[in-house]
Symmetry: C2
Subunit: 231 residues, 2 copies
């Protein structure tokens, strides 16, 4: 009987539901608005479909998630119980940002980053018509075919491409994956990244200037960091 603490303590009862591997990340995806099985999967690509299915069923049983059949589509939603986890998940994220700085190589997933970035493009700020932003990662640990990415922004959608879509590129971001991720997380700011040379912009001047407004950072980026006590 794993995942069973034999305690009436409400923290223990909560953790019986929540402490299984991946569970809170699935809830995070639902918080972010993913509704369909494969949409959730995009947020947790290292999770096998069998396991995602199992976790969703568990969460439905626990009353945290509701499953609906919309025609032949299936959608998942947080219940009221699940929605009450949102502030907790955000607090956990803020805690992680403040206290877990080390990012291993394996945490640096360009697909996940581009997916996050694309969800947070400020469509209002981008000019009408089509705008293309290119990302060139200079890391040599990244597979060569994952070093170039394009965001194709149109009036109502943002597409992520890992191949050249062939359109005119307004601005190219040349950096390491780690730098862009640290920027996204708010570990560093735009000025710092540009000044240090870890990140360079090329392309049209207006686009270079405007990029930080187009590309919004993680909603947790403004989290204040702990004061350094030393080192």
């Amino acid at each position: 009987m794993p995942t069973m603490y034999g305690q009436f303590c409400p923290v223990a009862k909560a953790m019986e539901v929540l402490d299984e591997r991946w569970t809170l990340l699935v809830i995070r995806e639902l918080m972010m608005g993913s509704r369909h099985f494969n949409a959730i999967r995009r947020g947790v690509p290292r999770m096998s479909p069998a396991l995602l299915s199992k976790r969703l069923q568990m969460l439905v049983r626990a009353g945290v998630v509701e499953r609906h059949r919309d025609g032949n589509r299936v959608t998942y939603h947080l219940t009221e119980s699940g929605r009450e986890l949102e502030p907790i998940v955000l607090s956990l994220g803020r805690w992680g940002l403040r206290w877990i700085h080390q990012l291993g190589e394996e945490d640096l997933d360009p697909h996940l980053l581009l997916w996050d970035v694309h969800r947070n493009i400020d469509l209002e700020a981008v000019p009408d018509g089509r705008t293309v932003i290119q990302f060139r990662f200079s890391d040599d640990v990244i597979a060569p075919n994952a070093r170039n990415w394009w965001l194709v922004i149109t009036a109502d959608a943002v597409d992520v491409c890992d191949f050249d879509p062939g359109h005119h590129v307004a601005v190219t971001v040349q950096t390491t994956l780690r730098t862009l991720i640290r920027l996204w997380r708010g570990d560093i700011g735009w000025p710092e990244a540009l000044r240090s040379g870890d990140l360079a912009l090329t392309g049209e001047t207006y686009a270079q200037r405007a990029l930080p407004r187009w590309l919004k950072l993680s909603s947790l980026a403004p989290t204040p960091r702990p004061m350094l006590t030393s080192a």
Copy 2:
């Protein structure tokens, strides 16, 4: 590589540290003020010493816990990082209280309950001298030798006994373990428990009257419960 998500998301990084089985309960014990290995064990009796040791080491490595050698004693403390988990653990407890009502038989541990209760006796409210409270659990699923408990309260300490300490008993609480646990958690209140007959007091009148002031409930007990939408 378990306990590794391959994501730079701060929630994922936080959960790499926190989502292992037992981890948050160990932190809860440290929050409650347990400092020594065997004191922590009392709060997580189903955890093997080997596993507790492993978790503590992991938490030290993660910077959440500090280990100190005080002479030949060893003490554990939350670091600043660990202390910042307190509001999160409390929120998880409140969430658990609101949304996870089902308590299985195996969650009903009399030892854990008495341990919690003894930590929360209001020494100010109890008369000077020695006061003994007896608990008689009528559950037949409980082992016969775990049906009777005594709290021996003196000026500066509360002792838990699972054997008759032989002193005069001021008040006896006759109930089921489940009822007393639900009372402790705040699922029901004293008046409700007494009126329904699920809990009965015998012994000296003043002690019967004063008991609810001596015996404070869980600090989470006042958590508001979700409005019933139906049934």
